[in-house]
């Protein structure tokens, strides 16, 4: 039955409800018209914090599973929310009232843009992330996303934000978009250039590796190819980038090498050897091939396993060249540094529990 099908005719305009999804869509249509066609129709001010954030919360609820939003909500709704976000971004972005709201909004916005094939839209959450004036808030946000099993669909995005914080920060610690490495001025002002903060971020950075290497053969292959491959590759690419002389010195990357070799490189190598050994052409049982089909198996191996394998080769070669092959030669973190890193992780864990 339609809401307009009243048994008792309404006596007052207040008795006629205006459907809120329709209201949102109309607002988005106006915003789009105002920007693209200079329609001149007045648009209310909708600052991202607190108003737009409340709209996201109202229409999407708290986002625990990005795929539920990306694939479960009508595309028109997601498009409208993102369009309104872009409209609101034309004004300066206010400081969020609290970090939890900031985190929830970024996650919801990332979910809304996850299905977009256009990078120009997928990069919108990054602008929100980097707009927060507190480096610690940004650090906690990125860490909490990377550390959360349920937010795997946002890991690749979070790694991209981390990369931008590290690579593109200026001397004031502000992330500048569209800059190159040569624009970086190392500064004590950004915690993203602090080696202990970086060490606190390393385990969650490679959470995707832990996820794909913890399962059975076929499950690992499926997760790597279907969901986690891009996050694994992004994490490895970032690590490889940071092996350049300026960053590895600044971030004291040498101290992370034992972790990387034992928790990332070796498990992935073993996994890929297991994949290869499973191939019927290598005398294997063909478990993966019989689960997904020969063609899919070949495509997955070429596009994902092969590409990640090449990146691993590059990283391993550079590590060996720069740091040698014996981890016992490398200086680890001091007790003081480990204590600091532990404090940082505790702060983030308190934030993640909220």
């Amino acid at each position: 039955m339609h809401p307009i099908d009243f048994e008792d005719p309404p006596k007052s305009p207040d008795d006629i409800p205006l459907e809120r999804h329709g209201c949102l869509l109309l607002l988005a249509a106006r915003a789009a018209g105002a920007i693209m066609f200079a329609s001149g129709h007045p648009m209310p001010d909708i600052p991202i914090f607190p108003h737009l954030y409340k709209m996201f919360d109202s229409f999407l609820g708290e986002t625990h599973n990005l795929d539920e939003v990306a694939y479960g909500q009508p595309q028109a709704l997601l498009d409208a929310l993102v369009a309104l976000t872009i409209h609101s971004m034309q004004q300066s972005i206010a400081v969020p009232e609290d970090e939890i709201g900031f985190k929830r909004f970024v996650i919801a916005l990332t979910a809304c843009t996850a299905r977009q094939s256009h990078a120009i839209v997928r990069q919108i959450p990054a602008t929100i992330v980097h707009s927060h004036p507190s480096q610690m808030a940004r650090f906690k946000l990125i860490h909490s996303i990377l550390a959360n099993d349920r937010l795997g669909a946002a890991w690749e995005s979070a790694i991209s934000w981390l990369k931008e914080e590290i690579i593109h920060a200026d001397s004031a610690g502000t992330v500048l978009r569209d800059r190159t490495h040569s624009d970086v001025r190392f500064s004590a002002h950004t915690i993203f250039h602090d080696p202990v903060y970086f060490w606190a971020m390393v385990p969650p950075l490679f959470h995707s590796v832990k996820t794909v290497t913890a399962e059975g053969l076929v499950e690992s292959w499926m997760h790597l190819i279907e969901t986690q491959g891009s996050a694994v590759h992004a994490a490895l690419n970032l690590y490889y980038l940071l092996l350049s002389e300026s960053f590895r010195t600044r971030l004291q990357l040498a101290k992370t090498v034992p972790f990387f070799r034992t928790q990332v490189l070796n498990p992935l190598r073993k996994l890929f050897r297991d994949f290869e050994a499973d191939l019927p052409s290598h005398g294997g049982d063909g478990l993966i091939q019989s689960s997904v089909g020969e063609e899919m198996c070949a495509i997955g191996n070429a596009r994902t396993v092969g590409v990640i394998g090449l990146t691993l080769d590059q990283i391993e070669e550079t590590l060996n060249d720069v740091f040698g092959t014996d981890d016992s030669d490398l200086k680890g973190y001091s007790e003081d540094e480990e204590a600091r890193a532990s404090e940082i992780r505790k702060k983030v864990e308190e934030f993640e529990r909220e």
């Binding site: 305009p13 789009a32 920007i35 120009i120």
Partner: protein
Amino acid sequence: MNPDDPLVQALPPATDYLTYCTILEYQLTRDRLPLLHQLLQDERLTTNIGWDLVKLLLPMLPASTECLHDVARLGNPREVILRVADALLQLNSEIDNFEPGKEEEVPSEGPEPLPAHILQFNCLVAMLSVLHSRIQTKSPSRFIATSLHAALEAYMSMPCDETTLSFLEFLRDLSPNKRPAPTPRAPSESSVLRVAEKSAPDPEAEVASPSPAAENETALVHKFLQFALLELLKSYLLHFSSPTDPGMSWAVRIQEHLHPSLRMPDQSQTEAYSSTEELKERDMIMGTIVVC
């Protein structure tokens, strides 16, 4: 007019109105529609039988368009409006039995033949526009609620550019702040029906004087129209919201507009929406909705 034609010979007072309606059911063919159109210029006749002709004439669209317009202009508006609403609600159930590809496509005056159910919807809402302009009542909101309910139920089963524009035209006609019709800009606008001929006054007119109750009625009408517009917008956007359809692509187009250097030349949605007729029409319709 052929005086020997059964429809002429049986005209009241030769028969009563009920008998005449029965004769029409058996004798009315497409060939006789021009004759019926002439006969329906008799306001007294149309007032008495018009409400009964809606169901009979609807399946004969578009040939019966003029006759249906006569019914709207000259029939008893309070009775005809109920029949039109009924027809809209039944239009919905007919669509449930509709099998794409099997319905006979009736040629329309537009560039492409429209399916019968769309022709019927467009005609019925055009009739509602005329009928509502004729009804003089202290409680217009009650009539509007009935009409909007029926029109929305039918529309939601067949949202497309043609029905959307027809519905928007209807909402525009109902608006207390009615503005002149915009200049047609898109092919689908040719399917919107507008009745230019003069209508008869409401035989049961109630005179409303300025009062708080009258102001409340105006506010109620306004709110009903807002409600209907939002429901229409939702249905319209959802009907092309699928994995393979670009929808309105607002986000990507706004970004391309604000950052033209980031536009991918061979994948630009801005280009697609300015060069593809179907997508251009969506923008045009959204523009109409926003100013409604």
